[in-house]
């Protein structure tokens, strides 16, 4: 079946989508919002996204890749935002395997080998 991508924005939409695919491997990339021209306020996210997308074919069959925009810069900086509180995210970009402690944060997402390891790790 291969894999599929879902694009979401904000915490409630993320949770709803993750719950809908319960039982399948779920990987999520969290990035800062993009402006009308498609540019994110988060420069590291701009660097990481193409690296991650290039490795998506390594995900196991039936995987769901959730591309999640977390919000604007002010929302993200708030230490009590739902992503920080509930998902324990510490930075953007974050790439994680949902439901496991496996994740890559910030510059770790720039490294194709680490991204590949996350997607293929047992």
């Amino acid at each position: 079946m291969g894999w599929e991508e879902k694009q979401v924005r904000g915490y409630p939409e993320f949770v709803q989508t993750a719950q809908r695919y319960h039982g399948r491997p779920i990987f999520a990339l969290f990035c800062g919002d993009k402006d009308a021209a498609g540019r994110s306020w988060c420069p590291d996210c701009v660097t990481a996204e193409p690296v991650v997308r290039k490795e998506l074919h390594n995900m196991p069959d039936e995987s769901v890749f959730i591309y999640c925009l977390v919000g604007d810069r002010t929302y993200w900086k708030d230490p009590n935002n739902e992503f920080r509180k509930n998902l324990k995210l510490t930075g953007v970009p974050t790439l994680l395997k949902y439901g496991t402690p496996q994740k890559l944060v910030e510059e770790e997402c720039f490294k194709a080998e680490l991204v590949r390891m996350l997607f293929t790790e047992d």
Binding site: T100, P101, Q102, K103, E108, K111, E113, L114, M117, E121
Partner: protein, 446 residues
């Protein structure tokens, strides 16, 4: 030999006095065992830009349990042990808290699954962290069982049975230990060990702990602290190798706090009465001092009678590494070198050395610094502080009273001691005559 043609480290060999012939090994260093010692060595060697491989493989327990990269301490030792000990301490703290003014009406109960899931989640993050760390430092890691097949050569077999051969200039054996079983009917089918306890997917219930090692007493301690019915079956003495005066105080404290002890008995048979999670087991035991036989029923039997070094099935005979045939431990010189000059060893498998994570890490780092960094410092294995996390926690550094008497002679030893009442124990009216400290002095040291 598999082809690994890129970037081979060069090693020049003199042959019959003629000019050197270049010989290429796949790696500068292959580490067998990805635990405290092995990983510390691999990461340190990577700092010197050496080509390093780590082979780590967990042979599943008799009940089929396994775990990720990081070794005993991270997965089935210090880390989950201390977290579960903390869980038990928090139970005690909740009780104490009422005397400190905290008011709550609900009865406090413990949920094994909640605790175990949290602990396993943390361990999972450590396993992952090590994977990332090795990858970032360009250390090659394979989840495969390493064994020597000839000089400078290991065979790595992964869980699918695929075999690969690798060569290296030097090797580090850091394979650690695994729990010993009783060798009685029913032991492997029905008993668990510390390898199974920390990820047990159901509450163990009424538990018999067989053994009197620190593993046995620490586990008995936290299981009882979580509210379970715990019995400890001891063959002879408690905490062999530790100060016996202290060991007995620890035992007494545990007994006074609800843990049952059956002294001078050993199990001879374990049978299953009923399957389940947990099931019901019948344990038959024989006295070590007579012919008396007793029986007991438990939900879980935890065997903690000792650990054996993983040195007998890694092909050491193929490369001539000598081991102590009786104990399986590897004797090394003060530079962690085995009798084979290019093979080193570190960690719990060493003969006559303390089996502690920080010791393995320190020895590993210093070894690598000597091999590749021109350093000369050797690991000091004496005077290492250690703690036993029994309900009455025990910290020690240096000689036990028995060891001091043996080494220096009773007439040369003076012991200063005192009971003390920790300030935090006063308000909740906890025991005022249990905590104890002693200093063992050699009179000749003034």
């Amino acid at each position: 030999v598999q082809a690994h043609k890129e970037d081979k480290p060069q090693k020049l060999l003199e042959m019959n006095g003629h000019t050197s012939v270049p010989y290429s090994y796949n790696y500068d260093l292959i580490v067998i065992g990805g635990g405290s010692g092995g990983l510390a060595a691999a990461k340190e060697a990577a700092k010197y830009e050496k080509k390093v491989m780590v082979l780590d493989f967990v042979v599943p327990t008799p009940l089929g349990n396994s775990w990720g990269l990081g070794g005993t301490c991270v997965n089935v030792g210090c880390i989950p042990k201390k977290l579960m000990h903390q869980a038990a301490l928090l139970g005690q703290a909740l009780e104490d808290s009422r005397k400190y003014g905290w008011q709550f009406t609900e009865e406090v109960k413990h949920n094994w699954m909640t605790m175990t899931e949290s602990v396993q989640n943390y361990i999972g993050s450590l396993n992952w962290g090590y994977r990332v760390s090795l990858r970032e430092k360009n250390v090659t890691y394979e989840n495969a069982y390493g064994e020597f097949v000839g000089p400078h050569t290991v065979k790595a077999t992964n869980k699918r049975g695929v075999e690969k051969l690798y060569t290296a200039e030097r090797f580090l054996i850091a394979t650690g230990e695994r729990p010993r079983y009783l060798g009685i009917p029913g032991d492997k089918e029905y008993c668990i060990s510390s390898d199974d306890l920390f990820s047990l997917p159901y509450c163990p219930g009424k538990t018999l702990v067989v053994g009197a090692s620190y593993v046995a007493l620490e586990c008995a301690g936290f299981l009882a602290g979580l509210g379970l019915d715990v019995t400890v079956m001891v063959r002879s003495i408690l905490l062999r190798g530790f100060d016996q005066d202290i060991a007995n105080k620890i035992g007494e404290y545990m007994e006074e706090h609800g843990i049952k002890f059956i002294r001078e008995f050993v199990p001879i048979k374990v049978e299953q009465i009923e399957e389940g999670t947990p099931g019901r087991l019948k344990v038959t035991a024989k006295s070590t001092t007579g012919n008396q036989i007793i029986e007991g029923e438990y939900n879980t039997v935890l065997v903690a009678i000792g650990r054996d070094a993983c040195t007998r099935k890694i092909g050491l005979d193929k490369v001539g590494v000598k081991i102590n045939e009786k104990t399986g431990k590897i004797p090394v010189n003060d530079e962690e070198q085995t009798n084979v000059p290019y093979i080193y060893a570190v960690g719990d498998i060493l003969q006559d050395k303390l089996e502690l994570t920080p010791v393995a890490i320190q020895a590993a780092r210093l070894l690598v610094q000597r091999l590749y960094g021109g350093a000369t410092s050797k690991c000091d294995y004496v005077n290492v502080p250690t703690t036993v996390f029994t309900p009455l926690e025990y910290g020690a550094c240096g000689y036990s009273e028995e060891a001091a008497v043996q080494k220096f002679g009773e007439e040369n030893i003076e012991v200063y001691h005192s009971h003390f009442w920790p300030l935090e124990w006063t308000v909740p009216s906890r025991d005022n005559n249990k905590c104890y400290a002693k200093i063992i002095c050699n009179i000749q040291d003034n």
